[in-house]
């Protein structure tokens, strides 16, 4: 599924613009509130043409942005289940059903293999729309299988994070996915297969505190929220306001936890460069 369709599905049209844009082909920027057409957005790599705000996009948008053409989806046969019979204001199995219907996705992460500037890359990308991009057993398992595939085929791996963290409805099982993914990555590192961690808005909680911080290269989109604890929790704990720009990509770069920040329009060429530089001589 391409970005155009997905963007259309998720379009937010201001009511007053409905008449002028009957097909909902307007996008109102969350940040600068300016409107632009979907065509303009598409031409601008799904960023606001007025303020360069990188709108939150989905796994398949990134696949389209990165891969040369065709790509193959992997491990899409895994499905989450409500094995703890977890119920808060609504049962977990209902949350899962709703998320699947709403997003047409099977989980909060999708894995694909394809070529970026003619070099093979495995990409695992998250969807924030699917229960906040939260990490449960399936996310852990898809990442583990992606790592196995990277090991077997000696193909570099890229994980694109966009998540609120662990999936509470899987309790300790979701916590253990931190250990699982990190342990698997230690095997990938031992085999000297490169792993690129790309952090996008937002990346917090147990994902940041495991595979997202463990890239050979860690890089991010501009102005993404990245952290361990969420800003609200920190504010409630320390009982004072947070400094300007706290927990942004720029903040993490300054404090030494990112290698660089890349604008979405340069993403493909930058990843292509990394692949070329890391490539083992034939």
């Amino acid at each position: 599924m391409g970005w155009f369709k997905r963007l259309k599905d998720g379009i937010q049209t201001a009511t007053r613009n409905k008449k002028e844009a009957p097909e909902g082909l307007w996008y109102k920027c969350k940040r600068c509130k300016e409107t632009s057409t979907v065509k303009e957005l598409r031409e601008n790599f799904l960023k606001c043409p007025h303020c360069n705000y990188h709108i939150r996009i989905g796994s398949h948008d990134y696949f389209d942005l990165l891969f040369d053409g065709n790509f193959e989806e992997l491990f899409d046969d895994l499905r989450s289940k409500d094995f703890l019979e977890f119920s808060d204001l609504q049962p977990y199995h209902k949350r899962l059903d709703d998320a699947q219907k709403k997003t047409s996705l099977s989980e909060a992460i999708s894995v694909a293999v394809g070529k970026v500037n003619r070099r093979k890359l495995i990409v695992a990308a998250m969807d924030f729309k699917f229960i906040g991009g939260s990490m449960g057993s399936v996310m852990g398992q898809r990442i583990a299988q992606a790592i196995d595939h990277a090991l077997e085929t000696r193909t570099p791996l890229m994980i694109i994070s966009k998540t609120g963290g662990a999936r509470m409805m899987e309790s300790a099982f979701s916590l253990m996915q931190m250990a699982k993914t990190s342990a698997k990555l230690s095997e990938l590192a031992k085999a000297k297969v490169p792993y690129f961690s790309f952090l996008t808005d937002p990346t917090t909680g147990g994902v940041t505190a495991s595979f997202a911080m463990l890239g050979d290269i860690n890089f991010a989109e501009p102005e993404a929220l990245i952290g361990f604890a969420g800003p609200r929790v920190i504010k409630e704990t320390i009982k004072r306001d947070l400094p300007e720009g706290f927990q942004t990509s720029e903040f993490l770069l300054e404090h030494g936890f990112l290698d660089f920040i890349v604008d979405r329009k340069d993403l493909k060429s930058r990843v292509g460069d990394l692949l070329a530089l890391f490539a083992v001589k034939e």
Binding site: D76, D77, L78, R79, S80, K81, F83, L84, S87, D88, L89, S104, S106, S137, V138, G140, Q141, A144, A166, R167, M168, E170, S171, A172, F173, S174, L175, M176, Q177, M178, A179, K180, S182, A183, K184, L185, S186, A189, K190, G206, T208, A209, S210, F211, A212, M213, L214, G227, F228, A229, V233, I234, T237, I238, L242, F246, Q247, F251, H255, F257
Partner: protein
């Protein structure tokens, strides 16, 4: 003595006993029969209460102000112990302590979260909530253990890693992630025991090991029940429900295959007989280390990684089922 809310029947019996003792001390009336009867009643009531604890009650017990903490166990278990400080980069975190010790002839590196024993010390220990330098100190000690071939023991007891500005600046997430990554490949045995609270990334940051166990009245979860209540129920009032829903007790964790063993506590909880608890813990640690020393480092690392790789519950659908999903 501190009584928890569900221990009210016990508290009343203790009060009665105290009164009887006073009466018998003041006058000439012999109360010994009545006191003995009360003591039996106390024993039975305690047994009754403690055999039916809910998830939330175990959370309360794990936070009991008289519950023993890491340093108590270390000093009880080790004939010699030298505490080591600092991460060598930034500072010494007081919420994670560690050092080199000797348990019945076996040198170990032993570390864990540390809570304070009184109001002043609780502040000093930051309530057992570590900053990045705590995790980095732990890793430094573990790497030293690896160099000298000492087994590593990690005692877990934290309400979570500290959510603060400086913690984020210094990379709380990176520190925890790095520990998971390095602990997976550590060549020496790692024995982990949850001795109190096992909350979230702050717990697993020193919790990846060959053998992971929990004391009977402890909990392990992706989030503390109060925080879970506030996020999923949008109110702080559902902590009991959240504790049940999270299935966070040692019994659950054992049934799920997430931990290897449950360590029995003395009746009434670890705090009711701390010395006995320390003896039980020491036996467990010795046995676990001896078992793990039977394996080669390569075997241990492989088994360790496989253990975590197998944690997770999910369905696998067939091709034709995928088609049905998209049509429905």
């Amino acid at each position: 003595m501190v009584f928890l809310d569900f221990e009210t029947p016990l508290e009343k019996l203790y009060e009665q006993r105290e009164k009887l003792q006073q009466v018998s001390e003041e006058g000439d009336i012999d109360m010994s029969a009545a006191i003995k009867e009360l003591e039996n009643k106390i024993k039975n009531t305690r047994k009754e209460i403690y055999s039916n604890l809910t998830g939330w009650q175990k959370v309360q017990l794990s936070r009991h102000p008289e519950r023993p903490y890491t340093l108590y166990y270390i000093h009880q278990m080790c004939r010699k112990f030298v505490e080591l400080h600092g991460d060598r980069y930034f500072k010494d975190d007081k919420a994670i302590v560690g050092g080199i010790g000797n348990i019945d002839g076996q040198t170990v590196v032993i570390l864990g979260h540390q809570k304070g024993v009184n109001t002043k010390m609780r502040q000093y220990r930051n309530f057992g909530m570590a900053n990045p330098e705590g995790y980095r100190k732990a890793l430094r000690l573990m790497k030293m253990a690896e160099r000298f071939n000492f087994p590593v023991v990690c005692l877990i007891d934290t309400p979570g890693a500290y959510p603060g500005i400086e913690a984020e600046e210094r990379g709380q997430a990176e520190a925890i992630a790095r520990n998971l990554f390095e602990m997976a490949q550590l060549k020496v045995p790692i024995v982990c025991v949850v001795i109190g609270e096992g909350a979230s990334g702050g717990a697993i940051g020193i919790g990846l090991g060959d053998k992971v166990s929990m004391m009977e009245n402890t909990w392990y979860s992706v989030i503390a029940p109060e925080s879970c209540s506030s996020i999923l129920w949008r109110s702080w009032d559902y902590k009991e429900q959240a504790a049940e829903a999270l299935k966070l007790t040692a019994d659950h964790m054992f049934d799920f295959g997430i931990i290897d063993e449950i360590i029995k506590e003395p009746l009434g909880g670890a705090h009711s007989a701390p010395e006995e608890m320390a003896k039980i813990l020491k036996r467990h640690i010795k046995k676990s280390i001896n078992e793990l020393l039977e394996m080669t480092p390569e075997e241990r690392i492989e088994a360790r990684i496989n253990k975590y790789a197998n944690i997770g519950v999910y369905d696998v659908v067939k091709e034709e089922e995928k088609v049905e999903e998209t049509e429905s």
